[in-house]
C-alpha cells in the first residue's frame, strides 16, 4: 500500500518536473523565435505568404508630381484609401498612422525608408492643395495622392481595396464608402501585408519592426 502511494508520488513529481522543464524550454524557444511567433496571422495584420508584385499605375501627389510604381520602390509604404470630407474613420486612421510613424522613428533603424500615403478616392473634391493641407496636419512627411477614377481603381484592385463614391446631383455631401484597412507595400513594390481595423499604433509598429528585420535578414 505504502509502496504504491510512494510510486504514485514519484510519478506525479516526475510529471511535474517534466512539465516545468518543458515550460522553461518552450519559453526559451519562444524567446529565440519571438519575431516569428509574432508573425502568425492575427487580428492586426495579415501577412501574404508570397508578396505580390504590383504593376504600373499612374497617380498624382499633393504637389502635382507623378506618383507611380517607381514611387513605391526603395522604401516601405503604408497606404490608406480615404477622402478629406470623412470626419470619423480617416482622421482616426491618419492619427494612428502618425503615432505609428513616431514610434518607428524612435527605433534604431528609424523611419527614413518609410512613407505614409493617403490615397483620396474622391478626386472631385480633393485637389492637390487640399490634400497637402489635410495630410500635413497629421504628419508633415505624409503624402496625399489622387488621380482619375480608373487609376485609383487600378491600384485599389491590385491591393484588394474597394471604394464607392456615390456622387448625387445636387447633394454636396455625397456618400463615400472605402476600405479601412492599411496596406503595406515593401521596397520592391510588392503588396506585403494588410493591417485590419481597429488600428493601433503600438500593434502596427511592433509588427512592422519584425517584418522589416526579417526582410533585411532575407535580403542579405
Amino acid at each position: 500500500m505504502y509502496r504504491t502511494s510512494l510510486k504514485f508520488c514519484l510519478m506525479i513529481a516526475t510529471v511535474a518536473l517534466a512539465a516545468m522543464l518543458a515550460g522553461v524550454w518552450l519559453a526559451e524557444i519562444y524567446r529565440q523565435h519571438d519575431s516569428r511567433a509574432m508573425l502568425l496571422p492575427d487580428r492586426v495584420m495579415t501577412l501574404f505568404p508570397e508578396p505580390k508584385p504590383l504593376t504600373a499605375f499612374a497617380l498624382t501627389d499633393d504637389k502635382n508630381r507623378v506618383f507611380d510604381l517607381a514611387s513605391l520602390k526603395g522604401k516601405w509604404s503604408f497606404l490608406f484609401f480615404g477622402f478629406t470630407h470623412c470626419p470619423d474613420v480617416c482622421p482616426t486612421t491618419l492619427a494612428v498612422l502618425a503615432r505609428t510613424r513616431d514610434i518607428i522613428a524612435r527605433n534604431k533603424v528609424g523611419a527614413d525608408n518609410i512613407q505614409f500615403v493617403f490615397i483620396s478616392v474622391d478626386p472631385y473634391r480633393d485637389t492637390a492643395g487640399k490634400l497637402r493641407q489635410y495630410v500635413e496636419h497629421f504628419d508633415t512627411s505624409f503624402v496625399g495622392v489622387t488621380g482619375d477614377n480608373a487609376q485609383i481603381g487600378n491600384l485599389a484592385a491590385q491591393l484588394g481595396a474597394t471604394y464607392q463614391v456615390a456622387i448625387t446631383p445636387g447633394l454636396e455631401n455625397y456618400p463615400v464608402y472605402h476600405t479601412t484597412a492599411v496596406f503595406l507595400v515593401d521596397p520592391r513594390a510588392r503588396s506585403h501585408a494588410v493591417f485590419t481595423p481597429p488600428h493601433d499604433a503600438e500593434a502596427i509598429s511592433r509588427r512592422f519592426k519584425v517584418l522589416r528585420e526579417l526582410a533585411a535578414g532575407n535580403a542579405t
Partner: protein, 143 residues
C-alpha cells in the same frame, strides 16, 4: 438666524436645486471632444460618453451648435467590407444605460465650422432630447 445657519440653509437649498435639475436632465455626458482637423476642412466629428440616469428610455433627437453650420447624428457602418456613414434621426439611450460616441461608431458630424478650431478650445454643442430637453455640453477640441 446666525450666519452659520444662513450658510447651512443656502447649502441645503442649493443641494435641493442641483439634484432636481440633473434629474430633470436625466442624461449625463462626459469626455466630450472634437478631433482637431486641418484648417479649411468642412467635416469634423464629435465624440462623448452618455449616460441615462433615469429608469425610462431617453432619445437624443438632434444636436446644434453656434460653432457649426449644422450638426447631425451619424454612425460609421461597414458595408461590403467598406466603411460608410449613415444619418440617424434619433438614438435611444436604454433605461440606466450608457452609450459611447467613439471613433469608428456613433459620432456627431459637425459641418462647416464657423472658425478654425484649435486643440484645447471648448465648443458648446446643444443636445436635444425627445420631450424638449436641451443640454448644452462643452466639447474640447483635441489633437
Amino acid at each position: 438666524m446666525r450666519w452659520r445657519d444662513r450658510v447651512f440653509v443656502c447649502l441645503i437649498s442649493a443641494l435641493s436645486v442641483v439634484p432636481a435639475a440633473s434629474e430633470e436632465a436625466g442624461v449625463s455626458v462626459r469626455d466630450a471632444w472634437i478631433r482637431e482637423t486641418p484648417p479649411g476642412m468642412t467635416m469634423l466629428a464629435g465624440y462623448m460618453k452618455m449616460r441615462n440616469n433615469t429608469s425610462r428610455s431617453q432619445f437624443l433627437v438632434a444636436a446644434s451648435s453656434s460653432g457649426f453650420e449644422s450638426v447631425m447624428i451619424h454612425r460609421t457602418i461597414l458595408k461590403d467590407g467598406m466603411a460608410g456613414m449613415v444619418h440617424l434621426s434619433q438614438i435611444e439611450l436604454a433605461p440606466n444605460g450608457s452609450l459611447n460616441f467613439a471613433p469608428g461608431g456613433y459620432h456627431l458630424m459637425l459641418m462647416t465650422p464657423k472658425r478654425t478650431l484649435r486643440a484645447g478650445e471648448p465648443v458648446v454643442i446643444n443636445l436635444k432630447f425627445r420631450g424638449g430637453l436641451v443640454i448644452p455640453i462643452a466639447f474640447e477640441v483635441r489633437k
